[in-house]
Symmetry: C2
Subunit: 563 residues, 2 copies
Amino acid sequence: MRLCDYIAQFLVKQGVKDIFMLTGYGAMYMNDAIQQSGIKYYATRNEATAPMMAEAYARVRQSLGAVCVTAGPGATNAIPGLAEAFVDSAPILVLSGQVESRYTTHKIGIPGLRTFGSPEINIVPIVQSLTKFAAVVEEPSQIRYLLEKAVYYALSGRPGPVWLDVPLDMQQMEIDPSSLKGFVPTAESNIGDIDKSVKQAFEMLSSAKKPLIIAGHGIRQACLASQLRSLVETLKVPVIFSRFGQDLMPHSHPFVFGHGGGKGSRYCKAIMNQADVVVSLGCRLAPQFTGHDFEAFAKDVKIIMVDIDPAELEKPGIPLALKIRAHLRPFMDALLNEVKLQPSGNWESWVNTCREFKQKNPMVTVASKRNPIDLYYFMYRLGELSGKNHVLVTDAGSNYYVGGQVWNFESGQREIMSGTNAAMGTSIPLAIGAAVAAPDSQILAVTGDGSLELNIQELKTISHYKLNLKLFVINNGGYASMRKWQDTYFDGRRIDTEESTGAGTLNLKQVAKAFDLEHVCIERYEDIDVQLKKIMSDDRPLFVEVMTDNNQKIFEAFKDKDG
Amino acid sequence: MRLCDYIAQFLVKQGVKDIFMLTGYGAMYMNDAIQQSGIKYYATRNEATAPMMAEAYARVRQSLGAVCVTAGPGATNAIPGLAEAFVDSAPILVLSGQVESRYTTHKIGIPGLRTFGSPEINIVPIVQSLTKFAAVVEEPSQIRYLLEKAVYYALSGRPGPVWLDVPLDMQQMEIDPSSLKGFVPTAESNIGDIDKSVKQAFEMLSSAKKPLIIAGHGIRQACLASQLRSLVETLKVPVIFSRFGQDLMPHSHPFVFGHGGGKGSRYCKAIMNQADVVVSLGCRLAPQFTGHDFEAFAKDVKIIMVDIDPAELEKPGIPLALKIRAHLRPFMDALLNEVKLQPSGNWESWVNTCREFKQKNPMVTVASKRNPIDLYYFMYRLGELSGKNHVLVTDAGSNYYVGGQVWNFESGQREIMSGTNAAMGTSIPLAIGAAVAAPDSQILAVTGDGSLELNIQELKTISHYKLNLKLFVINNGGYASMRKWQDTYFDGRRIDTEESTGAGTLNLKQVAKAFDLEHVCIERYEDIDVQLKKIMSDDRPLFVEVMTDNNQKIFEAFKDKDG
């Protein structure tokens, strides 16, 4: 069989049903093999978005995502999406086409040679630091080993993207699959004694007066949502989420207090401020979550951090009482056993205090019902009216912050966003990937009129594939978040955020039409519920323009004094 | 003064009048300093295109181009354009914002840490192999040294992009410019004895029966167009161009034979086939120019290659009779002197043979006048009607090939394209950069309905800045070039190029409207001249849809047998 067919069949065996790609000469045999394998291919309009779609696909399905791009610019175009998948820990495999081996700078090895064949770029050194594994297929006999190794790295430990560069001559080579050598992972090192760690953590927790669990992305990635729930319910302690953890448990659950950190809610700020022992499970405790110098927490807080990525445990400036490098599954299983065996603290009054914080510091009030539409009110209603299996998606800027503060997820709902970077222009490709992954769900994606422009080409992907995706475009005069910092730091000297540079001045109705999407406009708060219900009852893609206040205030936990 | 102001003033001193940027929090002090410095900033709609615009700007003005992007995704988004500038040897400086130093993985140095601050990506390792120099500003006292070093590398030898990553704390630091250390370049090594090289080259050339000069990008970059003309006129030898060299001399000149190589014209193929001694000046002799195994040339051809980049001289499979590593200016000056002093060969009959080839193998004939429009005819008329100071731009695919085969440049005209990669989606950003660089010129940019989609967001940049730019969008049903190889290699199994994936199915009239551009449509060959004259007499931006034959045949010198 052709090597390219081996690759495609390997993907099928990994459970890959869909792939995101832009075809090209340098990947032509792989393109053909993918088509023949029965994997459904989704054509992106720029390779930049293909890894973003694959990221959402991987996160929604909790399995491998796949991308195929062509050589040269096809590969470099894909880097923006690759970077997202890397920091967001998404297990995706990017296959890039390449010119014939003899025309690759990789094979030639002349230092400083910029390019050789056409179009040729030596992609592996570029993507090396944005992947867990990246390699060129140099010999056809390597293919099984390289694919198995790549997928092992993508999925194991802290997941992340991997990359294989496949020259044209390799793609078309005939191989005998039965003669190929496989990959055998070596045993993992530096995993400590779980029993000891669990005992230490349990002791520290038992001594707490105001314990708090922080649940992060690692829990989702290890498929431990139900274990988290058991742990919280057995311990009877409050839990807050990193942005990635928001959809782990229903927010109506009495021990759930939503999104913490700098972009979190007012009441989460109060809870984090008072906690004395914190158990962080699969959350990297980023500065945007902990604040500068850990300002979000009390000075004498004891933090237990459990993570599989050793680098995250070694970050400076994080005063950890206990660092535990462990896979979350055995750790959480053992901790739950420990908790069930021994009595821990009674934290009812602390939990009640947390509930009081929440009650007294609502993010949406009667005052939010106003015109022009308050973004908090719109986002809140969108969340409240969303259905059980809906996937919510946000983009960079105001809608990202507000979504984290007002959405109360229910069981079965998912949130997909550029969690680490809050990168502009990611909402559309992430929503497309989610829609492909979950064809029976409805995707409710929010973007801003500034962010919309970055990957506007993919609107055509939405309309072409008739995805059940509603895109809500917040019309707030473009780059509202940027206007805010420019006003704060530079006496209102504004740059690139006003009509002077054309930011946010597109006629959105015309844009929807150009990309074959039906346009709906929400202009008044009184109409939100009726319009949203109608929109959600439709299974066609829709482009919904939401006219909101251009001077929207956003709550920032580490800056606002009123929390 | 603030370090960011020092950067902006340094750019001003380098002659930078315009910069391409998308503002962002991580670059906010630089954004502010640029605005205050009087440099005009052009807001791009995605950072991917900013380096492409700067590339065109640098190539048209023959000086430094500049870009400023923000941290994290701002920086990684810019890589597609950076890769283009690297392989196309464009001297551009990219300034990226960055989070505070203490939150950078660069400073922290923990192996494997993916990201720290928000949004933070350690960009230097990623761009290292796509730049001539890349560094992080670690101390404010380094800034003069780093800027001078970066710009020296960008402009010296074979030009190319450089990158400086400037953390937020550095941007706002107060510095005393008088105390800063500068950069002193070390003496260049490995430049051989020019006199000896010139003598050897001259001797070889003198012994030729059918000499040929190949003029490449290096001549333009060293500003040697007039020296080339003197050399050709004194020697009285035919000259052909790499794609980058096409605009070096007027094509009406009796010794000029246009574009050679695989994408060149039928008559160039015949000339290259017969030449016995070839002097290549500043051309990298890429496989797409020489063919596989040098098939474009006669078996016993003697090739003299003159280049400043030592890596290009060492590529395998190129049977060079003489490798000369030299700066082109002293080499060409010395060669011209030598030629003037001594009699060289008499090549009149060889030149006449070349002229006969040209006459007998026209790329456009009476048969090209047909409907649906033959792309050759349209491109030919566009070239013929273009004005003296017009800049012509092409994108990937059919229009790229045809432009190289039928455009007869005149003195003062320029061509700007993705010369090395022929990358999809580059026409619009390159045209914008050219328009900013040459506000008194008219930009005639061609793209295809497939390529258009990749950077469609920048249509708004064209309309917003009211650039004197005519965008010709070839409507050929999308991805015409891809259809061709799919039909050739895969029995017509087509992927991603048919209406099945939505490629090339945008309603272009609506697209123009969405991005505030006036739409014009050319549908019949009989109307081309009248419509083009009207279009070129207008100084507003225009979106011109050109309906062409979906089954356009493209001449390929190394594949077509009829050449």
